[in-house]
Amino acid sequence: MTSRSEIINLDQVDHGRCRSWPFFQDYCVTCALCAGSCPASGIDGFDPRMLVRMVSLGLVEELVEARWPWICTLCGKCENVCPMEIDIADLVRKIRSLRDREKVPGILYKGLAAALETGNNLRLPKEDFIFIIEDVAEEVAEEPGFEEFKAPVDKKGANLLTTIHNKLVNTHTEDLKHWWKIFHAAQEDWTVTSEHWEGTSWGYFTGDDAAMKVMAGRIVEQMEQLEIKNLLWPE
């Protein structure tokens, strides 16, 4: 997408096409406060005002194919300044959801597919996960003041269940230790689960609400099985 004339195909204008979408896009007064506030404005010709107007005009295919919805970070700065309170970030996410799943950029779809199939984005087997947790827990226990430290896995009746961001059992295992040290100092009765520990939910990024529901549902299921009332889900 390089120029406006390439973006807008006037033959396809259809004002009624997206009228049922619940984002108030037709209220746009074209003031461009969104465009002025957005750090991504201008990248690849991106302009949130133009995006909103294109939805109003029913020019959906162009937006679905564009990189725009993926360059936007869904940060919501645009809608925060929008005088008409248009839900621009949700609108962008809706456009993301219309992209063929195979054409979702980068590793987003692959990671999400892995999570849905195996429980985590890395396809990390249960045994390997437990090994990593135990290994890092031993490292913590070697530090002064944490001699008695243990990382309880699948502890029934614990007070608190915590999810884990997959990067913490991949390339950033050191960052597992911060919360663990706090739990130890606070004498928290906590646990992690050996399956479905994944804290990220990439359905949020790909516009896949059903996938988000599956990921959240698994966490709830684990809490019910282990009879745990409190959840720490910092991802």
Binding site: I71, K77, P105, F146, Q187, P234
Partner: protein, 145 residues
């Protein structure tokens, strides 16, 4: 997450050393804990992390603008995983200006995406020495055992 840390501190279950970090730090509001949480849940977590910052250290400042008017780091919404890396780095220029203006040596963030983004781009913007810390990492680091 913030509420849990605040509970631990207020109930006296953890004690924190406020004198450990003396160099100037800055706090960054992640979109999802702040502006988006305000919109979706009617409560943005703005004051809670600042209260926790106060318990951990004295010498920290806010970026400007902040809270509802905060500027995104550029790593959110899956941007770290789309492969559009040049765009993602360029996106961060406004955020980096905010940080440079403060002169902070450390940036505290309570978000995995922000943490990943800042560590990924800081060299490119000449901030190689800027320490990026999770808020809970700061708390863990200030624990008095």
């Amino acid at each position: 997450m913030f509420d849990l840390l605040i509970t631990y501190i207020k109930e006296g279950r953890i004690k924190l050393d406020r004198s450990k970090h003396t160099e100037l730090a800055a706090y960054h509001d992640p979109c999802n804990y702040g502006r988006k949480a305000q919109k979706f849940f009617g409560h943005g977590f703005f004051e809670e992390p600042r209260w926790i910052m106060d318990q951990c250290m004295e010498n920290w400042v806010d970026l400007y603008p902040n809270r509802m008017d905060q500027i995104c780091c550029g790593g959110g919404g899956g941007a770290l995983t789309t492969g559009y890396n040049e765009e993602r780095v360029f996106y961060a220029r406004k955020k980096i200006d905010q940080i440079k203006t403060t002169g902070a040596k450390m940036l505290v963030v309570p978000c995995h995406s922000c943490h990943g983004q800042f560590n990924n781009i800081k060299e490119e913007y000449g901030l190689g020495d800027l320490k990026i810390m999770y808020l809970w990492e700061l708390v863990a680091d200030c624990l008095i055992l």
